[in-house]
């Protein structure tokens, strides 16, 4: 069975869990504490998802989404995701990550910092682009005229392809956004952020020079 792990038991984590379950994935989700602390929440907000610890999520999945407050990645062990595809769905927010100068200024985007922290993980930046409202409301079957595009950026082509397949299964048109550093285009105030583009529009948008 296809499996997806989710680190982060907040709005985005559960929205992604629901989508993945609907797409036939076996989903394991972890918050910042014990499995018990999110078991009830998981059973109501994403029935079928298994509550676990971050360590268990990493151990039992080859593909894991990081859906936490951005600066908290530093609290996870550097070898936690060795060899795994790690989908970085975090965004730097001044509100919640204030004082994290490295994240605030990251010249190659925040995902590069995350790769540096988890050097043996196959980091792909994706699923950070839409709000959890949009994640809930916008998925459409393949071929639907109003299907929205979601990009994936990474330096490991096989990992990017796998994530693009996941994006398609979740109900979005996948678009290859280039290298992990190119992924900074998908961040808040990079232009495609929170936009509901078709695949062609998103591809065009990513081809434009970055204004920042």
């Amino acid at each position: 069975m296809k499996r997806l792990g989710i680190i982060g038991a907040g709005k985005l984590g559960f929205a992604l869990a629901r989508l993945a379950l609907a797409a036939g994935y076996e989903v394991t989700i972890a918050g910042s504490g014990s499995a018990d602390s999110i078991e009830l929440t998981a059973s109501v907000l994403a029935p079928g998802a298994r509550a676990a610890t971050a360590t268990e999520v990493a151990a039992s999945n080859d593909m894991v989404v990081l859906a936490i407050t951005a600066h908290r990645f530093r609290s996870l062990p550097a070898d936690l995701f060795d060899g795994k595809i790690l989908i970085d769905a975090t965004n730097y927010w001044e509100e919640t990550d204030t004082g994290d100068i490295e994240l605030a200024t990251a010249p190659e985007g925040t995902s590069v910092l995350i790769r540096d922290h988890f050097p043996a993980a196959r980091v792909v930046k994706s699923l950070n682009q839409l709000s959890y409202h949009q994640i809930d409301e916008l998925p459409r079957p393949a071929g639907a005229h109003d299907r929205v595009a979601v990009a994936a950026a990474g330096d490991d082509p096989a990992a990017v392809r796998t994530v693009m397949r996941l994006i398609d299964e979740l109900g979005f048109d996948p678009v290859d956004a280039g290298s992990l550093a190119d992924g900074r285009r998908l961040e808040p105030d990079g232009s495609p952020y929170a936009e509901t583009y078709t695949a062609a529009e998103l591809t065009d948008c990513l081809a434009l020079p970055l204004e920042r």
């Binding site: 038991a9 907040g10 929440t41 204030t98 808040p188």
Partner: protein, 405 residues
């Protein structure tokens, strides 16, 4: 099916926005404050159950000291409940909050309700010297202290407490003493599952704020709250409130066209601050048609409110009315229409799907359920006793008669 049909509560919420004058220019802040007092008085005259003021520290909102404004309204009203929406407990000293609101409770003769929350606006953190990275931990501690303060006030026993974010309290009795059964406290949530669980853990009623998207999407969080109440052995039928945005005018078109430029201006500011794409007319119209902007003629808005209350199974509703710089005269008209036309109509709509088989749920909360409701969470069993009987049932509502319009 809606429970507590006889206990429905309809309020209005204001962040005291700097509104435009007749010349289209912003009016001075002190005038906004005096206008808000008039709006509160008018809300009572129009038959609205509660008038609630936010707490912000930014140049477009004059609600930084909401308890003072509420006190002025209290002195000129008799029935209407006076509340906050929300009190950002994280960056307040709960001791000071108690002193302010216990005083307001005395002035208003027990009409105070607070909605406490972590705050979605974050400007208070640097202003008062708190670290946003501790957002979660700070709120948890402050809420714990708040519940213990209420418990001590209810029993008259001195409070001993220590924590990380304020100096310890050693056998302190806070003044003024609290009128029995007042300072009803709700927890406001923007939709984070952790906030929902926390409200249930403390046995506090929940207010779900929905400021974007289809309200129906929040139903799973309501279910989560109900399930968690059972899990934490709290009364399973604590009330739930809903807060959305909206604007009422004689016709749908007038309402939409009046609200639109102000919605646009607010979202343009937010888009710059948060890196979102610029707002569009299509987005606004989508929010009006399917989302959480309840904008239109009285019948339209009443239908949206009734539908959302049914879908989410909530008994309390607050409309954050006339957001943005909409002029005072239109804010007044909006309050009048809400109180005299919209809310009576919502009551009719909800009464029409009443069901005799559900009358068992209509019984008012007993003192016993209320006592069980608001003890601090069970990880502090030593304090459970002191916390019992903290606050009376939050459901005490002044009812506007049906068909008042």
């Amino acid at each position: 099916m809606l429970k507590h049909l006889r206990e429905l509560e309809f309020g209005v919420d204001s962040f005291m926005p700097v509104s435009n004058g007749a010349d289209g220019l912003p009016i001075p802040g002190d005038q906004v404050i005096r206008n808000t007092i008039e709006e509160g008085v008018l809300a009572e005259q129009a038959g609205i159950d509660s008038f609630n003021i936010g707490e912000h520290f930014r140049d477009d909102s004059m609600d930084s000291a909401n308890h003072v404004v509420l006190a002025a309204i209290a002195a000129r009203t008799q029935k209407i409940k006076l509340g906050t929406a929300v009190t950002v407990l994280s960056t307040q000293d709960p001791v000071r909050t108690y002193q302010n609101f216990a005083t307001l409770d005395a002035i208003s003769n027990g009409r105070v309700q607070l909605i406490v929350g972590r705050g979605s606006a974050i400007e208070s953190f640097p202003l008062f010297g708190y670290d946003l990275r501790e957002y979660e931990e700070i709120f948890e501690e402050k809420l714990d202290l708040w519940v213990r303060i209420l418990a001590a006030a209810a029993t008259g026993e001195p409070l001993t407490w220590s924590g990380k974010y304020r100096p310890p309290l050693n056998s302190v009795t806070l003044t003024p003493p609290l009128r029995a059964g007042s300072l009803t406290t709700w927890v406001g949530s923007g939709g984070s599952p952790a906030s929902t669980i926390r409200a249930a853990r403390y046995g506090l009623p929940l207010v779900q704020a929905i400021i974007g998207g289809d309200p129906a999407r929040f139903r799973p969080l309501i279910d989560l709250y109900r399930r968690a109440l059972v899990e934490y052995s709290r009364p399973a039928d604590l009330p739930i409130g809903l807060h959305t945005l909206g604007y009422v005018a004689p016709t749908d078109e007038e309402a939409v066209e009046t609200q639109w430029p102000h919605w646009l201006a607010m979202h343009e500011r937010a888009s710059i601050e948060r890196g979102w794409p610029p707002p569009s007319r299509a987005q606004f119209e989508h929010e009006v048609a399917h989302g959480s902007m309840f904008v239109g003629a009285p019948a339209t808005v009443a239908a949206r409110i009734a539908a959302a209350m049914r879908t989410l199974d909530v008994t309390s509703f607050h409309l954050h009315y006339a957001v943005g710089a909409i002029p005072f005269q239109q804010r007044r008209t909006n309050i009048e229409m809400l109180g005299r036309e919209v809310y009576p109509r919502v009551r009719e709509l909800l009464a029409s799907d009443g069901d005799a088989s559900h009358t068992a749920h209509d019984a008012p909360h007993t003192a016993q359920t209320a006592r069980a409701a608001q003890a601090p969470p069970s990880e502090h069993p030593d304090q459970l006793h002191a916390a019992a009987a903290a606050v009376k049932s939050p459901v005490r509502t002044t009812h506007a008669p049906l068909g008042e319009a």
